[in-house]
Amino acid sequence: MMTVITDNLPVFVVIAPLFVAFILPTFARRLRLVEGLVIIANTLWIAGAAYLASIVLSQNGIPITYALGGWQAPWGIELKAGSLGALFILIIAGVSLMVSFFARNNLTEEVGSYERVARFYVLILLLGGALAGMAVTNDLFNVYVLVEIATLSCCGMVSARKHARAAEAAFTYLILATLGSILVMGGIGFIYIITGHLNMAFASQELGRVWQNSPHVVWMAFSFFLVGFGVKAAVFPLHVWLPDAHSTAPAPASAILSGLAVKGYLICLLKILYNVFGQTLMQQYAVQRILVIVGTLTIMAGSILALTQDELKRRLAFSTVAQVGYIFFGFSLINTKGLSGALFYLVSHAVIKSTLFLAAGAMISATGEGKISGLAGIGRKMPITVAAFTVASLGLIGIPLFSGFIGKWYLLLGSMEAGSVIPAVVIIAGSVLCAAYLLPVIRVAYFEPTPEVDVKDPGLSQKVALIVLAAAVVILGILPGPFMELANMAATELLVLK
């Protein structure tokens, strides 16, 4: 019995949300039921993820492999739930659970009718499943399919609100993301042409032997992957779709898009870079140089652009761009500390950014004002929301005791180990800029005169979601234990593979 569960865990964590997503539209008329179902599914999912993580931890990072349909590796599709997958799925499941908590009783005003809400949940679950799949799959073409599923569901979420800007943003996103997918597919094609394999492990082995026969194709593959995933993960200057998309989506969608979706693509890129090409090839082609340049540019540009935004959600969206830069930069550090820092940063940013977007959504819907100046004095009226926002902001800035600090610390350590100081300076400059664009919000909320209008904290489940997420920011900052360990193992694994 135990072994059945254990063996099927990798596929369970992917299938569970997808399955619920498929049955959900049948209950579309009964919103309570839909919401309950989603929360139950999410709870089950998170339990599965936690179990997976505990197994991986107890096995010291040795992954659980699962051959879909019983077809063994070179021919069939293989799922490989290692520490990277476990870490990422755990965070996806956790954040989606909290987001669906937040979405309870709350979505209709943003999205519309019950049916639309149900469809919205479908999209959330689909996205969750796709992201989980990206984390565990070991097959390249599977990556493409999952990326497409994720892209489409993201676009759906972006277009969920009923005004023109949403459609526009969704269309832009769709076109650009499809371009990105095309490039990813092209990259996969190049790999396949060279190696004849779609399984990452085999492709990687083959690539190691034959890359010198056709180095130019490897170049093409590299550049297609980088640009393709770069578009999707919104690195500068390919981020142009993100602010519109993330700021026009409903609050829970923004939280998931910024917190999770972008991370899924980053994880894919990470796996392809390290598991398929491997660090030897990366060094051979000096890919890390590109990553460093792009990462630092993204950090600076995203932060400065965020600084110029008046709308809270746009500011947060640009901040996401900046934070992606950190992770991108972390990928360039071919050492355990840097990589585990990047992974931990990814986790902490997922939690922090979803907190920020949820809190921002609550504030905006309470005041009806999207501009930062419209939030004057709400710190007293909405104590919990603003407190959660503050905690998350401090986490993002990288104040010790909050989760962002640990990620930044390891990134800095990694960059020291890689022998580069300028990126470290950029990281810190990014933090300062982060303070510059987030603290004014807090200042306005707490220290400006209180308005006459009556605004209140959102409902109970929203409050619970915010409190739990904010607490997670602090807990990750104080006791990062298992997460850090998983990130560490994942980093080691990525580096050891080749």
Partner: protein, 642 residues
């Protein structure tokens, strides 16, 4: 050990002063007389050669140390006497000026501080009391709170503070040069780092020199001394500048009195001598041109301090034979204190009755103030150096010392001797002028308030008695006090060098008389020709130069501030310009994306797509052409190889 109580007595007085309501007792008087009596009794043994030291055993780095050797004892008794005299004078005088309570409190505090300086046993304790003295005495200067007083107090405070800071730095240097701070009265110091030692000496001399009114650091002195009420002026001029001289003597002690200076220090004697001469000349020249009695006296303080500094210089210069000069200096310290106090008190008497100190508006006042005029006479004669009065004794000694130095054959010393004589003439001239314009001459039509001022005259009388006594028995003071003091300082053979001097010989008296007569002549010519009214152009005077320097520094600092401001502005401007540039570049990736390339305007999605394609193309080009990782495998090579 009991002598340590001396500085404490005035402090008790201050406490009582603050507590008491009625004015039944003159507390400064009580304090003065107590200190005088206790000091004379307690310090008598010092002259027998057993110095006193006391260390306050406080834990920590600073253990105030006190010592008393003959020099300290002389000055302590002098201080006590002067304060005693002035305290007799004060109540009556201050009734006229007002603010007596504050004045008396300051007086007591200053009394304590001055006693502290004279009994301090280490440099830091000395500095402590020195600074205290500065602070407490500045209230005298500012007592009148008019423009002149405020101006004067600024001068006074700034110079004193700078002096104090110099002393502090000098002490630090001394500590660095000798490892252990030398004790005051501890004799010659063997420095471990002679360069720092010299530096330290320079700083200490400058620090004490400011207090002593040494040219060019004397600029504060005329302002401060003339702005204070008469008792304050008397004490400032009579006593407080002597603290500077005392300090100089003590500093000289570190280098060693009575021995040839080491190579680095051998310039100290000439330098001090020249500074002294400059001080003398500058003081007396300026004094001749003054119309205000108090300023005239103040400039004479500068001039007389010049005598003392010159003597010290000569003493250093002469080495073991400098006993005469040093004794002369000590003697002159005492004498100057007496007659300058008397002069200021006398002018004060005139002032409270006429409200006037401008000499040209006074005249013929002996009719109104016969007693005062009579009591002023010994002081005037004393400062002019008339035989039979106290100034004569010390000036003769110094003159002998200068002549002796000139006889060593050093050329410039001859000039020093000539200038010495000329300053004597100048002194005589200016005091002739003072006394003539004030008491003699035509009666001016000035209103004179009538009231009896016995206590004022008693105070002056006390001083006059002492002055005349010294003048009559000039040998007494050196024998019982000055020579032991000088010997204790290290001039072992001081008594021998002094033995050759007899005060009552013809040539000295004659030369002094000549000097006096010349002085009167000069005064007469000056008054007749109106030279005394002519003010020299400001750039020629030291005040003017000082002012110019001050303005220069101000202008310089303004310029520097301007420069700094413009640099800051420049940096800020360029920074903000850079930020604007960055914003405008990045703004293209913000909300409205469009760009025009070659006539084709790309907007919205087209622009975004273009970005992607450019990125892709860039990467491909990067990999093909400039990828640093593959430097040895070039594109063409690979194509062909493939």
């Amino acid at each position: 050990m009991l002598f340590v109580i001396l500085p404490v007595i005035p402090l008790i007085g201050v406490l009582l002063l603050l507590l008491k309501r009625n004015r039944a007792i003159n507390l400064p008087f009580v304090a003065g007389i107590t200190v005088l009596v206790l000091g004379s009794l307690g310090l008598k043994s010092v002259f027998a050669g057993n110095g006193l030291t006391f260390r306050l055993p406080l834990p920590g780095p600073f253990q105030p140390t006190f010592q008393a050797d003959p020099l300290s004892a002389i000055l302590v008794i002098l201080t006590a006497f002067l304060f005693f005299v002035v305290s007799v004078y004060t109540p009556k005088y201050m009734k006229h000026e007002g603010g007596i309570k504050g004045f008396e409190a300051c007086m007591l505090l200053t009394f304590s501080a001055v006693l502290g300086v004279f009994t301090a046993g280490d440099l830091v304790t000395m500095l402590l009391f020195f600074e205290l003295m500065t602070i407490t005495s500045c209230f005298w200067v500012i007592h009148r709170w008019n423009e002149e007083a405020i101006r004067a107090v600024f001068f006074y405070l700034f110079f004193s503070i700078i002096g104090g800071l110099f002393l502090g730095l000098g002490i630090v240097m001394m500590g660095a040069a000798t490892d252990v701070l030398p004790a005051v009265g501890g004799g010659v110091v063997i420095p471990s780092d002679s360069k720092k030692f010299v530096l330290s000496m320079v700083l200490l001399v400058a620090g004490f020199g400011i207090k002593a009114g040494m040219v060019p650091l004397h600029l504060w002195l005329p302002h401060a001394h003339s702005a204070a009420p008469a008792p304050g002026s008397a004490l400032l001029s009579g006593l407080l500048i002597k603290v500077g001289a005392y300090g100089l003597i003590r500093v000289g002690e570190f280098a060693g009195w009575g021995i040839r200076m080491e190579s680095e220090l051998n310039r100290m004697g000439p330098v001090l001598s020249v500074l002294g001469v400059c001080t003398m000349v500058a003081g007396v020249t300026a004094a001749l041109l003054q119309s205000d009695a108090k300023r005239l006296l103040a400039y004479h303080s500068v001039s007389q301090m010049g005598y003392i500094i010159l003597s010290l210089g000569i003493a250093v210069f002469m080495g073991a034979d400098g006993g005469l000069a040093l004794t002369g200096a000590v003697y002159h310290i005492v004498n100057h204190a007496l007659f300058k106090a008397a002069l200021f008190l006398g002018v004060g008497v005139i002032y409270i009755h006429t409200n006037e100190t401008n000499l040209y508006k006074l005249g013929g006042l002996w009719r109104h103030f016969p007693v005062t005029a009579a009591l002023m006479l010994p002081a005037v004669l004393g400062i002019a150096g008339a035989p039979g009065f106290n100034g004569y004794a010390s000036k003769t000694m110094m003159h002998h010392a200068v002549s002796a130095a000139a006889k060593t054959g050093t050329g410039w010393m001859l000039w020093v001797e000539r200038l010495f004589t000329m300053v004597g003439v100048g002194t005589a001239a200016s005091f002739t002028k003072l006394y003539y314009l004030m008491f003699l001459g035509k009666p001016a039509g000035i209103k004179v308030a009538k009231n009896r001022a016995h206590s004022l005259q008693i105070a002056m009388g006390l001083l006059a008695v002492v002055m005349i006594a010294i003048g009559v028995v000039p040998q007494l003071f050196p024998d019982i006090a000055a020579i032991p003091a000088v010997q204790a300082l290290g001039m072992e053979n001081a008594s021998n060098t002094l033995a050759g001097i007899s005060f009552w010989n013809f040539s000295d008296i004659f030369s002094m008389l000549i000097t006096l007569i010349l002085g009167m002549l000069v005064c007469w010519i000056g008054l007749k020709s109106g030279v005394f009214h002519r003010q020299p152009p400001s750039w020629l005077t030291l005040e003017g130069l000082g002012k110019l320097a001050g303005q220069g520094i101000l202008a310089l600092s303004n310029k520097a501030a301007e420069l700094y401001g413009s640099v800051v502005k420049c940096i800020r401007n360029s920074g903000s310009m850079m930020i604007r540039r960055i914003y405008s570049v990045l703004g293209k990736f913000g909300q409205n994306r469009n760009s025009t390339t070659g006539g084709v305007t790309l907007s919205w999605i087209s622009a975004d797509t273009a970005l992607i394609i450019i990125a892709l193309a860039f990467l491909i080009v990067w990999y093909t052409l400039i990828n640093p990782g593959l430097s040895e495998q070039r594109l063409i090579y690979m194509w062909i190889d493939n």
